[in-house]
Assembly symmetry: C2
Homo-oligomer: 249 residues x 2
């Protein structure tokens, strides 16, 4: 099918099913091989990159909508998403559909709600939807080189800013590191999220002060160097820090 | 005018001017006499309490909308608002307008964007709008006793949760305390926000570790007790902490 026709057909169906003017965009970060990635679609129409976002059904809660959208567009399920920002500039999406007339559902003004999450890409099998040439994890370091539709690059930047702020108040690592890990491995995770190298001594001191780590009796065997100490998260303290924050009063 | 008629007339005008399905609700906290308050309206229709929220014009950005709404409903201008949550349950507002038929603009499903701020009430002169019997600062401690419309009590609770989390990562106090203040005065502010008493020694240690205070050479005169030390905020460090957070890596 012609990709413009495909969007016109989607528009006809969408008017019955979805609320106008509201959309949701999930920004799913992945940590793999010590690097941060983000989940993106490449559209059939225009061949540019977008977040796997979509519209809100008239008969569903917004929280349900964003999970359904993510599943339909990428195949990803069972994910905990956190809202981080609302993007409501009046002209934010008008250029993307400039080849269509104003009756196209997708071309109207949308205020979009951004949600983010951080997971290990190995947990998911990606399935692109019918509107997408591909659905894949793209290195955050490569984002400045690719062409985005609408304000989706700005939305990702805002999600990344939120993630970087959040790791000062909430622990990260569960579901991203193996059950037993070394401090250098944990440091790599923090460096990937923050996008910068950290001083080892400062990092060790701060991370130990959080009180969320258990030092194990065993060391990692088999390397050429001195066997490094292994750690795991103290589940109880980790959960408490997730709930109350790391620096609560 | 009959208050039901007033809402029907608003509905007719609203359909031309506003986007459907999207609203914004400002939660303005005030700190005064060592207590936390929140800005509320009491509606003409139904005589219950609501946040000073409203709708988004078709020709304005969402950020502009929430400031205009707050000004129109309460008289408050020149305020910095931060988005903290989106409330999108499908039935969140349907009961409030149950006396009207479904053509009423205000009765449709609205997804509302919550914004919050913390200011000194003495900075503002409140002016209720034509739909409100009164617009006033209500003590947070009194909220459980009053009747709210829709999910506005839940929205305030979420704003308060966000504010309490944020004071672990961002300084507060500018525009709330006099230029020169004592540590007990600053502690009262933190206690009002957190809704609990803090241990004095722990508080002094933590607050000094933030590096945002300047100890002045002068003491406060005139009390019956030993003259307490005076402090002011170190503007440069305060601004940096506002930008980068207090516990940045």
């Amino acid at each position: 099918m012609d990709f413009k026709q495909q969007l016109v057909q989607q528009s006809v169906e969408a008017k019955d099913i979805f609320l106008p003017h509201i959309s949701a965009d999930p920004v799913i970060f992945g940590f793999e091989h010590n690097e941060l990635k983000v989940l993106l679609l490449k559209t059939n129409y225009r061949k540019i990159w977008l977040l796997p976002g979509g519209y809100v059904r008239k008969d569903e809660d917004l929280d349900e909508a964003v999970k359904r959208i993510l599943k339909e567009r990428s195949g990803i399920t069972d994910i905990y998403l956190e809202e981080f920002g609302v993007f409501g500039k009046k002209n934010r999406s008008e250029l993307y559909f400039e080849d269509f007339d104003d009756t196209l559902f997708q071309k109207q003004r949308f205020i979009t709600v951004g949600y983010y999450a951080l997971y290990s890409p190995s947990m998911f099998r990606l399935i692109p939807d019918e509107f997408s040439e591909t659905c894949e994890w793209v290195y955050v370091s490569k984002l400045p080189e690719i062409e985005f539709g609408m304000d989706h690059y700005e939305i990702i930047q805002q999600a990344l800013f939120t993630l970087r702020q959040k790791i000062s108040t909430k622990p990260i690592g569960q579901n991203l590191l193996p059950e037993k890990f070394t401090l250098p491995e944990l440091q790599k995770l923090y460096e990937a999220v923050l996008g910068k190298e950290l001083n080892r001594g400062n990092f060790y001191r701060k991370i130990k002060n959080m009180g969320i780590l258990k030092k194990l009796e065993e060391q990692r065997r088999g390397g050429a160097h001195k066997a490094p100490d292994l750690y795991s998260f103290d589940d109880e303290h980790y959960e408490r820090a997730m709930k109350n924050g790391l620096n609560s009063w």
